[in-house]
């Protein structure tokens, strides 16, 4: 029994990091927005890591799942705001819609694209977010290019005060919770047959098949899990926090690239990696925007190239190799 609990020790530093970030944001004046931004990047990394890190497949259309999650919450709030007495239940409906929509989209994309290998998969997914954006705009689904603005519905459903608290505080708290949940699912996968199957297929897909692993099944499991968390992040960070949604904003490939950077920087396939990657990326982006506004991308691009060449395993990958076998090693995964 004790051994079984010890398997989950690597969660300790992850959850501790989130707790420290939360407490710092809550108790130090002016820090909340920064911590909320960092939590968003950590959550994004944690969610994407379940797919990118564990399978080694790069999904360039990943932001589409955040996008449909945003729409899920927006639709939930706009369609159900007029029902009396639902109260906070509307948020739950919104989350459910976000989850269902992200899952359905990931099933549709996965069923086609996951038949492709490596680089071909990456290329096939590049168009997903753009395609979805043009579908919404062109077919005028969900208000088309005008987007949905639902500040009024939020106020109507929750009252002005609660709506404001939801946007400025609770949305960020939910991001922390989603990040922690994604970490929990990650370690659960790592310690179960799913994780072993994913490791095997990441290293050698053909050998994995011959060893009896149904690689398509496990890739789809990782893909759907990762996409569902993306949907939840979209539903909070991009919907509850900012009560409007415009197609060009939520299907912007820029966020996929950020997610890839965070996962690789921290260490793909590790549990603590996305936290470290999210913190490094978020903080450096923040400081560069303060010191050299407008130049942050110009400086960040070569910086990232250097880091990825110097530590291809990511920060945590490197650390893990160092502390292996030592007592500290049981906490780093």
């Amino acid at each position: 029994m004790k051994k079984n609990i010890a398997k989950y020790y690597p969660l300790v530093p992850v959850l501790a990091a989130y707790l420290v970030m939360f407490l710092m944001g809550k108790n130090m004046s002016g820090m909340w927005q920064l911590m909320a931004m960092l939590a968003f990047y950590c959550a994004l990394g944690q969610a994407f890591n379940i797919f990118l890190g564990m399978t080694g497949y790069v999904d360039f259309g990943y932001v589409a799942f955040l996008g449909v999650g945003t729409y899920g919450m927006a639709l939930g709030i706009t369609r159900f705001a007029s029902f009396e007495g639902l109260g906070i239940g509307i948020i739950i409906i919104g989350f459910a819609l976000a989850l269902v929509m992200a899952t359905l989209l990931s099933l549709a994309v996965g069923a086609v694209a996951l038949r492709l290998r490596g680089a071909y998969f990456a290329i096939a997914t590049i168009g997903v977010n753009e395609g979805f954006r043009y579908l919404i705009e062109g077919a005028r689904i969900w208000n088309g290019s005008e987007g949905i603005i639902f500040m009024a519905e939020m106020n109507q459903a929750f009252g002005r005060e609660l709506a404001s608290a939801l946007s400025t505080f609770w949305a960020d708290v939910m991001v922390f919770i989603i990040a922690a949940l994604a970490a929990l699912v990650t370690i659960y996968y790592m310690r179960s047959k799913i994780g072993y199957a994913l490791t095997a297929l990441r290293e050698d897909e053909d050998a994995a098949k011959v060893m009896g692993i149904n690689v398509t099944k496990y890739k789809i499991i990782a893909f759907i899990t990762s996409a569902s968390f993306a949907g939840l992040i979209g539903a909070t960070s991009w919907a509850i926090k900012t009560p409007y949604v415009f197609p060009p904003e939520v299907f912007e490939i820029h966020y996929t690239v950020e997610a890839i950077i965070i996962v690789l920087l921290g260490g793909a396939g590790t549990l603590l990696g996305p936290v470290v990657g999210g913190l490094i990326y978020g903080l450096s982006k923040y400081w560069l925007a303060v010191i050299l506004p407008g130049f942050q991308l110009l400086i960040f691009a070569p910086l990232i190239i250097i880091i990825i060449i110097a530590f291809p395993e990511g920060v945590i990958g490197l650390l893990k190799a160092r502390v292996k076998g030592r007592r500290l090693g049981t906490f780093i995964e």
């Binding site: 310690r191 179960s192 047959k193 072993y196 199957a197 490791t199 095997a200 990441r202 290293e203 050698d204 053909d206 050998a207 994995a208 098949k209 011959v210 060893m211 009896g212 692993i213 149904n214 690689v215 396939g269 292996k324 076998g325």
Partner: protein
């Protein structure tokens, strides 16, 4: 009852017939060698049996079930294990995890948990003498150690039939002899049929197999008792190129030619 039966199996790559109407029967617990020069279709035959690609013609029957078009991941749980000519470890995972993956998704997949699998892995790691490498990343092993690890991983699948592709390539004669002993022992203990495929290390085949199938240009040349097969003039011709007397005749002509040219 036969464990594996191939009936007129043909596999083509474009115009190249890699495996040409091969029939083969393997009984439970049998030890068979497949021999043939480079390019004779041995590995392709293994790939057809393990399901990497389906054959164009013929049927593959394993344990009474037609598996001709079954994907490879459904074959492993039936009891088909294999090792690869060029080792294919899951490099970033430790040796222990590699072997455990075999146990986890092999024949007893539905019965064993992750913890059971790791225990099973330990047993096979000890059996192959890899104790000191247990927690090393598999990618850091030497080629021979990788081969041993692959054998442990395949055995952890608890197969009924184990296909070994050039398991002894790159080993020195003493290691080969040890390996031959080990394979015989494992066959007795685990009651599995073993097909060992070898290109030219006859030392390994002669000491190991009860029966040998020789392949040449994709087709079955001979399938007989080991001694009979390896001394067959046709087999010698395949390896040395020409019948002995003809070869001698050619070498004399060549010698004359050389002398004339000074």
């Amino acid at each position: 009852m036969s464990l594996l039966r191939l009936e007129n199996v043909t596999k083509k790559f474009g115009g190249l017939v890699a495996v040409d109407k091969v029939s083969l029967e393997i009984k439970e617990g049998e030890l068979i060698g497949i021999v043939g020069p480079n390019g004779s279709g041995k590995t392709t035959l293994f790939n057809v049996i393990s399901g990497v690609f389906p054959p164009e013609e013929g049927t593959v029957i394993f344990d009474g079930q037609d598996i001709t078009t079954l994907p490879p991941y459904k074959r492993a749980p039936l009891g088909l294990g294999r090792t690869f000519q060029i080792s294919r470890p899951f490099s970033s995972a430790s040796v222990r995890e590699n072997v455990a993956i075999g146990a986890m998704f092999g024949r007893l997949a539905h019965k064993v948990s992750v913890n059971n699998s790791l225990e099973i892995a330990d047993r096979y790691i000890d059996m192959l003498g890899l104790e000191t490498h247990r927690d090393k990343a598999a990618g850091t092993l030497t080629p021979v150690e990788k081969k041993l690890m692959e054998i442990a991983r395949a055995l952890a699948m608890r197969p009924k039939l184990l296909l070994m592709d050039e398991a002894m390539a790159g080993m020195n004669p003493k290691d080969i002899d040890d390996m031959v002993k080990f394979i015989k022992k494992i066959r007795e203990e685990e009651k599995i049929a073993i097909v060992s495929m070898v290109e030219h290390i006859m030392r390994a085949v002669a000491g190991l197999a009860e029966r040998v199938m020789v392949m040449h240009q994709g087709a079955k040349l001979i399938d007989a008792k080991t001694e009979e097969a390896l001394t067959d003039p046709r087999v010698i011709e395949v390896y040395l190129g020409h019948p002995p007397d003809q070869a001698k005749w050619r070498s004399e002509i060549w010698k004359k030619e050389r002398d004339n040219n000074g």
